[in-house]
């Protein structure tokens, strides 16, 4: 157990972390990510159902993602400007990680996820696993990351992390045929797109619901500040 002095240092570290958690106080972080996942699933669904020769297939990645990212960027900005800042205050985050030096933490996580994905695809190719198992593993990694970053700070979000983990296990039990038989290239298994479409839909919906609940709770528990000088 920590001594009272060590507990004081822990408290200081927790206070330093609070501005970072403030970014999702209104649920916009989860709503944005959920919207991205659902948008991705929609683009995937359109691409599966349109003919191969369609002009959509040439431009969907660029146009679709550009539209998604733009909508999320400006949507979240508008919510912050008109709802969050007048209620609980304005915060401008430090740009150090983007402007100076290399973000080693982010690069390490990206490399780790990439390596896991590669190993997963290799295992699927050797036919021990179905695509749904790989998608389920991706879900478990996502649930663990969610628990670490978000549920640690907001207690009821542990329930969301648990739902994510349970859904990941259910996903692994689904029959491979259910997720369709389509893929971008011969490098990936046949039902690759279908499996990811299902995964993105599932986690996108969970994140949108969780973010939506946070947003409603935020509105209920805060009031716009009075328009007087500080």
């Amino acid at each position: 157990m920590n001594s009272p002095k060590e507990a004081k240092m822990d408290q200081i570290e927790k206070i330093v972390q609070r501005p970072l958690l403030y970014n999702n106080i209104d649920g916009t972080g989860e709503i944005g990510t959920g919207f991205l996942f659902l948008g991705y699933a929609l683009l995937q669904w359109i691409s599966i159902h349109l003919p191969e020769a369609s002009i959509w297939h040439q431009y969907r990645a660029f146009l679709g993602f550009a539209l998604l990212i733009t909508t999320i960027h400006f949507g979240v900005k508008a919510i912050k400007k008109h709802i969050t800042y007048p209620r609980t205050g304005y915060v401008e985050y430090r740009k150090r990680s983007r402007t100076c030096g290399v973000n080693w933490g982010g690069m390490a996580i990206g490399a780790g996820v990439g390596a896991l994905f590669g190993v997963g695809i290799a295992l699927v190719h050797r036919s021990h696993w179905g695509m749904t198992t790989l998608a389920a593993l991706f879900g478990l990694v996502l649930a663990a990351g969610y628990a670490w970053r978000i549920a640690n700070a907001v207690r009821w979000k542990w329930a969301v992390a648990a739902v994510m983990a349970i859904c990941s296990l259910v996903l692994a039990k689904l029959p491979a045929g259910l997720v369709g038989t389509h893929s971008w290239s011969t490098m990936f298994p046949d039902n690759f797109e279908g499996a990811w479409l299902l995964t993105m839909m599932l986690y996108g919906t969970i994140l949108m619901i969780s973010g939506g609940i946070s947003f409603v709770l935020y509105l209920r528990h805060t009031q716009p500040a009075s328009e007087t000088a500080e």
Binding site: K8, I15, V16, Q17, P86, E92, E230
Partner: protein, 98 residues
Amino acid sequence: MNLKTRRIAEIDRVIHEPGRLMIVALLSAVEQADFLYLQHETEMNKGTLSSHLSRLEEAGYVEVVKTYRGKIPQTLLSLTAEGRQAFAQYRRRMKEAL
């Protein structure tokens, strides 16, 4: 005086006060924040928060900029380079002293 006692004696008293420590810790993680944000996070009333901010401004640790958000007055606060250095040193000294 032994080393540990000397370390404790060297701790910056401006930052060590709990209210001001909270303000400096919050500002250390951001580029700038407004008065309302600090009030929400610290749960201090306007008078207490203003008095702590004045003390930090006097010490040269916090920069205060009065501006407007639309027609509403807004007070933006940020740690100065000196303030960041003082907080980093405070954390280091506290760890050494514990």
